[in-house]
Amino acid sequence: MKVLVPVKRVIDYNVKARVKADQTGVDLANVKMSMNPFCEIAVEEAVRQKEKGVATEVVAVSIGPAQAQETLRTALAMGADRAILIQTDQDPEPLAVAKLLAAIIGEESPDVVIMGKQAIDGDNNATGQMLAALLDWPQATFANSVELSAGNAKVGREVDGGIQTIDVTLPAIITADLRLNEPRYASLPNILKAKKKPLDMKEAASLGVDTAPRLKVVKVTEPPKRGGGIKVENAADLVTNLKTAGVL
């Protein structure tokens, strides 16, 4: 079984994003960038499926600037077999990303796509569902457990109120939630090995897909700041303050 794992290079989750003074976006100059944490979980899942003997090949795909090669090398060091970079200096919207991925899927014919549920920059939570729609494949989003077998996948999903389990016919799209697994750290030997694994480069424009933005960013601003709070001495003091504030 062949697994395709899309991965995105984003601001590191430990870094607090700062809005640019000219309100055109978030300042990413000299900011630490990493693989999106949900993509790490997706790579981990694919690699585990390979270790279990269910998956035979894991292909990592990224859409982004030349630096996204580092993100792909991370995926290779975690255990992916090969990688494809679809190079673009634009920041394509989820629909455009889904269309580019659909084009790659046309070439690669994977049995299943495992990807993160959300990228922590745009916070859209949309690409996986859009990709499933474009391919007319079933979708199992927000996965917290995945059992792959020939022809289908049984997926436990994190939903409001608990866990829903569904069974989807392959090929399908699975999007990873936080508790699917705990991603490994790549070992030094594996990081070295990853340098020799194949990484293909393609220009996004060569895929013949319409990636024109549908949304114009008018401005990016800072959210309103909360007014300064106070420290209270003890629980009784807290209750007095809460009564005065009118919330008790």
Binding site: N125, A133, P138, R214, V220, R226, A235
Partner: protein
């Protein structure tokens, strides 16, 4: 211009996030219809018809719709969209599941988790865990939008819209529902609660989480939330997670106990009216957003708080 709102419900009752999404929809157009997609959901449709400002309610019913399967909901909504210029869905785990699928089928962008309607094609939405607000203008002919319910007031009651049946589509032929394990609770629902008490990694175990958080929540009539660390460690169920990638809440009162205040947690609660933090580390980032901070071990602070509440007649 006409707008469709997809109701949030559990086949038995209509959720308040629907009322809030109607408010967002009414900022786009005065012609707002509601779709209830479910099974055995007639009572939900009737409740939806009572929301003030709603023109009519469409009811589509099948087993796959009752199970909320994304393919099934998409198959109902996409043909309906010839009669609408926008479709708005509350950004619950349900809505987030099917709404982007609808958008891609219509070949349009999804505008995710809006917190403000500027005009019929311009919206504000949080990005980067709420550390920035993005104002976007859509050039698509049809808008597919998810709505962060906490950012909008609930539309009132008093409507008398009629309920019409509509086609149930062809279900989800490639997806089989297996089962659903839902946590049952008599407490208020986290998403719409007036008071939320949340526990973090400091609790150390599920037993301790319940011993400390449950009685305080009961005393305050509060819903219970948790940090990701507490959920990952199994102290609390997954749908208690408050944050960037869990639930977003904005209650009157949010009490964070033994939670450090990571960016991702703050993203889910910093729009609460009053924030209380109890943490033994005076430098914990949660104190930067807290209106009232109590630097103390929760093991002494929570029992004292229970006593102080009792003394105050709670």
């Amino acid at each position: 211009m006409a707008v469709l709102v997809i109701a949030d419900h559990d086949n038995a009752s209509l959720k308040d996030s629907t009322h809030k999404t109607v408010t967002a929809a009414l900022a786009l157009s005065s012609d707002v219809d509601i779709l209830v997609a479910g099974s055995g959901a007639k009572a939900v449709a009737e409740a939806a018809g009572k929301i003030a400002g709603v023109r009519k309610v469409l009811l589509a019913e099948s087993d796959a719709l009752g199970q909320g399967l994304a393919e099934a909901v998409t198959a109902v909504v996409v043909p309906l969209m010839s009669g609408y210029d926008a479709v708005l869905t509350p950004a619950t785990s349900q809505g987030k599941n099917f709404s982007p699928r609808i958008a891609a089928k219509l070949d349009v962008a999804q505008i995710s988790e809006i917190v403000e309607v500027v005009d019929a094609s311009t919206f504000v939405r949080p990005i980067y865990a709420g550390n920035a607000l993005e104002t976007v203008q859509s050039s698509d002919a049809k808008k597919v939008i998810t709505v962060r319910a906490t950012a909008f007031k609930a539309a009132g009651e008093g409507g008398s819209a009629s309920v019409e049946s509509t086609g149930a589509g062809d279900g989800a032929p490639k997806t089989k529902f297996v089962d659903q394990q839902l946590v049952k609770s008599a407490r208020p629902e986290l998403a719409g609660a007036k008071i939320v008490v949340s526990g973090g990694r400091a609790m150390g175990s599920a037993e301790e989480f319940q011993r400390v958080i449950d009685p305080l929540a009961d005393k305050l009539g509060a819903a219970i939330g948790a940090s990701r660390a507490a959920v990952d460690a199994g102290y609390a169920p997954n749908d208690y997670q408050v944050g960037q990638t869990g639930k977003v809440v904005a209650p009157e009162l949010y009490v964070a106990i033994g939670i450090s205040g990571a960016i991702q947690h703050l993203a889910g609660m910093k729009d609460s009216k009053i924030i209380v933090a109890i943490n033994k580390d005076a430098d914990a980032p949660i104190f930067q957003v807290a209106d009232f901070g109590l630097v103390s071990d929760y093991k002494t602070a929570v029992p004292e708080l229970m006593d102080a509440l009792a003394a105050a007649g709670k």
